[in-house]
């Protein structure tokens, strides 16, 4: 048993826990040619500078807006999809639907953005049709105001089918006799959904919601860096791209690390907060307090 755990533990140690130590560069004026051992320590200077940097706050604001949009608009969709798939009677149709829905998950963001660019972009299929019809093109891909919607649309297209799988699995655990009993008592389709299906899914929904909230500051990286030029950093600069531009590209590794560390701390606090809230509502959450059942 212990032996079986070894590869997993080593993997986690090597690729997740050890790199965490690298965060010390957030308290240094790190220079790659000096290394961690010889770079100068500068205490909280990087964090103070970050606090004074309006670009950081813009990136944080964008991150929160985009995370909010994802949470509101994306999160319910896999649940809906799972319910639809679950209601399909024909096994064949069901399998087809499922496959088509989750395949896009395996495409990289470069391909997804290119696909959107080719169909909705300024020189894309839809706008070229509009032009031929003598109409004005619509700036789907370049309007910073509607950027959150575009991003969510891409995310739904790519990942909703994949996220559906977990709910589908949860649905298979619902006791069929409950439906039969309810139907016998005259409960219609919607009542059964409301009183049986959704309550059965509640634990999973809350669990995923908590995980999502803990991760809320990671809205994605490639998706935004690829589209940053089209809508401008005013709409597309998120914490991860900020870290990349300030740290890796700008050569200011330490402030990049400081931004990353701040993000991690806030994420941990959110996770803890959401979990506590779940406990208060009587849900098991992601881990349980000792003593509670």
């Amino acid at each position: 048993m212990v032996l079986l755990m070894v590869p997993g533990v080593v993997f986690l140690l090597a690729f997740f826990y050890l790199p965490v130590l690298g965060n010390v560069v957030a308290f240094q004026d790190f220079q790659p040619y000096l290394g961690i051992m010889h770079s100068e320590w500068n205490g909280f200077t990087n964090f103070v500078n970050l606090y004074a940097n309006p670009d950081f706050w813009d990136a944080l604001r964008n991150t929160l807006i985009l995370a909010g949009a994802q949470l509101l608009l994306f999160f319910p969709i896999p649940i809906g999809l799972a319910l639809i798939v679950d209601s399909l009677v024909s096994n064949r149709v069901r399998r087809w639907f499922q496959t088509i829905a989750y395949l896009p998950h395996f495409l990289s963001w470069v391909l997804v953005v290119t696909l959107f660019q080719q169909s909705l972009g300024g020189a894309g299929f839809v706008n070229n049709l509009l032009r031929q019809a003598g109409l004005d093109p619509i700036p789907f891909m370049t309007n910073p105001d509607t950027f959150p919607l575009l991003v969510v649309a891409q995310l739904v297209w790519k990942d909703a089918g994949w996220a559906m799988i977990i709910f589908l699995a949860a649905l298979t655990t619902v006791d069929v006799s409950l439906y039969e009993a309810a139907a016998a008592d005259g409960a219609g389709r919607w009542r059964r959904l409301w009183h049986i299906t959704l309550p059965s899914l509640r634990t999973v929904i809350v669990l995923l919601l908590i995980l999502r909230i803990g991760d809320i500051l990671s809205v994605g990286f490639e998706q935004f860096i690829l589209q940053r030029d089209s809508v401008g950093p005013g709409a597309a600069e998120v914490l991860d791209t900020f870290t990349y531009y300030a740290g890796v590209v700008g050569g200011d590794w330490s402030s990049g690390a400081a931004a990353g560390l701040a993000k991690g701390v806030v994420g941990a606090l959110l996770l803890w907060g959401a979990n506590s809230l779940a406990h208060r509502l009587g849900e098991p959450g992601i881990f349980q307090r000792r003593g509670s059942s």
């Binding site: 790659p32 300024g122 370049t142 590209v249 200011d252």
Partner: protein, 541 residues
């Protein structure tokens, strides 16, 4: 001849900013380092004697032209330079080449060098990241190409900490031991001087900066690419943009660079009569160019997909009418796609038809290649390698490096010009690009199958030189610019692109300028002004 266009396009606009490229000037600090660099004796210049160009070059930057490859290429080195294998980090701007094991051209080069040349080949973009990661890993290759304008920060202290001071081996007459390195011009060598020391052989490139090129078949409909003033150019662009055809490629910063020249904006910094400096961004001229670009954008003459990676194929097929490339020699890139096409190069004009335009010359090199710290024997071996790889146009070594082996990677055409064979076109481009970005002789104009192109390019260069302006801070150094320059430029450009594309009003310009100045721009100005060479001409009122 070798394609550096994309490298310079990506970073070429940095030449306008004049901030990032200052990373490789002389002097580690604004004070002492610059003085030390002044005291340094540059390597003695002794041009390669064996060759007369058909069209002469000049001190002004005019490149010598060759109508055909010299017959009976001479050898410029006496013996193979290497006894032991050498590792190097470099970058390719073509498709990466087949690896050494399955690349006969690479193997033939190793044979000629005397030992294996093991290249780690980065791709574009991403080189600075690769460079920084390798630097932090502490297991450096023998040679690492150091680009001047991709924003590698804090070059001075980095060189002192990790790389080899080569002054002893190259300064003054010492360089004569390496004749091909002695054939590099003093202006090129200045690139490789930091903190008053020489850190490697410079990599000369075309001294010309960006130009606008247009497909003459497209521009024919509106009377040609050349225009008398900005209004005329605007009207032509509008007429050319209809349906799915557009006048201009969507590289906004590069296009803006061209407009700035018409409006008389300086190359990086303006030198005022009292020898104080005004940055490009602070001039009314550049601001006017931004407004002009916004007007063009609003008229929908730019290709609408800002992510377009390379406009060249679209310019060739006529969907885009004009694009910005580096140097008049870039006509060859269009010829490569369509042998019947010779694109037209726009000569800058005054925005109102009266004002004198400027033409911004480029940086002239693509940096230098420093050595890992090592002992004297190894240093001499590596210098001999650089000497071999810097062999001038027309030599045996040049042929070996760029074309491989006759009968295998190239053959001679009717005019005795080397032309790549089918095997050559697979093995050469990625490898040659990786080699020439880290080592190069002084540049020449040469278009093997099209000698007439060489004549025309030579003539275009002379026209551009009439308006030529050089960055006054080139070859000097500012700590602040080296440290925060790349970040400040990026932030300012973000705002400019916002303004041009209508996402922000022109009022945002002042706010961005204020941030640029307080973020380090003012400090940079002071540091550059303090070391401004006496020979730099006044360019402002």
């Amino acid at each position: 001849m070798i394609n550096r266009r994309r490298f310079l396009q990506v970073s070429g606009a940095a030449v306008v900013a004049g901030s990032t490229l200052a990373g490789c000037g002389d002097g580690g600090t604004a004070g002492g380092g610059a003085k030390a660099s002044g005291d340094l004796k540059l390597p003695t210049y002794k041009p390669f004697a064996g060759l007369q160009p058909d069209l002469p070059g000049a001190e002004s930057g005019l490149e010598p032209g060759f109508l055909r490859f010299p017959a009976n290429a001479t050898a410029s080195v006496k013996a193979p330079p290497l006894k032991n294998a050498v590792t190097a980090l470099t970058e390719t701007f073509a498709t990466p080449p087949p690896p050494m094991g399955s690349n006969p051209m690479w193997q033939a080069l190793n044979q000629a060098l005397g030992a294996e040349l093991k290249l780690t080949i980065g791709t574009d973009p991403g080189y600075p990241e690769k460079f920084a990661t390798l630097l932090a890993s502490d297991s450096l290759p023998d040679l690492m190409w150091l680009p001047p304008n991709q924003g590698i920060p804090n070059i001075g202290p980095m060189l002192e900490a990790k790389f080899q001071d080569l002054t002893k081996y190259l300064s003054g007459d010492a360089v004569l031991e390496y004749p091909n390195l002695a054939a590099l011009k003093p202006a090129s060598w200045r690139t490789a001087v930091v903190n008053g020391k020489i850190w490697g052989a410079p990599i000369p490139s075309t001294p010309f900066g960006q130009v606008m090129m247009g497909n003459p078949r497209t521009w024919e409909k509106v009377g040609g690419l050349q225009s008398a003033n900005a209004e005329e150019f605007f009207a032509k662009c509008k007429e050319l943009s209809n349906g799915t055809n557009y006048a201009l490629e969507p590289a906004i910063i590069n296009m803006l660079h061209m407009f700035g020249e018409w409006f008389g904006a300086p190359n990086g910094w303006r030198v005022n009569a009292d020898r104080s400096l005004t940055h490009l961004y602070e001039t009314e001229n550049y601001r006017a160019a931004v407004e002009y670009a916004a007007k063009l954008w609003a008229a929908k003459v730019f290709y609408p997909d800002l992510n377009l990676a390379d406009a060249t194929p679209k310019t060739v097929n006529g969907q885009i009418a004009a694009q910005v490339v580096v140097g008049p020699r870039a006509t060859a890139d269009f010829r490569a796609l369509d042998p019947t096409l010779f694109v037209d190069t726009l000569i800058p004009f005054g925005h109102d038809g009266k004002a004198k335009p400027v033409y911004d010359m480029g940086y002239g090199t693509v940096g230098f290649t420093p050595f890992k710290q090592t002992d004297e024997g190894r240093i001499r071996e590596l210098l001999a390698l650089m000497d071999y790889l810097s062999a001038p146009f027309g030599t045996k070594e040049y042929l070996q490096k760029n074309f491989g082996v006759e009968g295998q990677q190239y053959q001679l055409d009717a005019q005795k010009n080397p032309v790549l064979t089918k095997a050559g076109t697979q093995q050469a481009p990625g490898l040659v690009s990786a080699l020439t970005i880290m080592t190069s002789p002084e540049s020449v104009i040469f278009n093997p199958a099209f000698p007439d192109d060489t004549r025309k390019i030579h003539a275009t260069e002379q026209k551009l030189l009439e308006f030529a302006m050089r960055n006054p801070t080139a070859g000097t150094y500012s700590d602040t610019s080296s440290k925060v320059g790349p970040k400040l430029t990026a932030a300012f450009r973000d705002t400019i692109v916002d303004i041009v594309t209508g996402r922000q009003k022109i009022g945002a310009y002042d706010e961005a300028l204020k941030r640029w100045k307080s973020g380090g721009g003012d400090k940079m100005r002071g540091e550059f002004a303090a070391v401004l060479p006496a020979g730099v001409p006044v360019t402002g009122s």
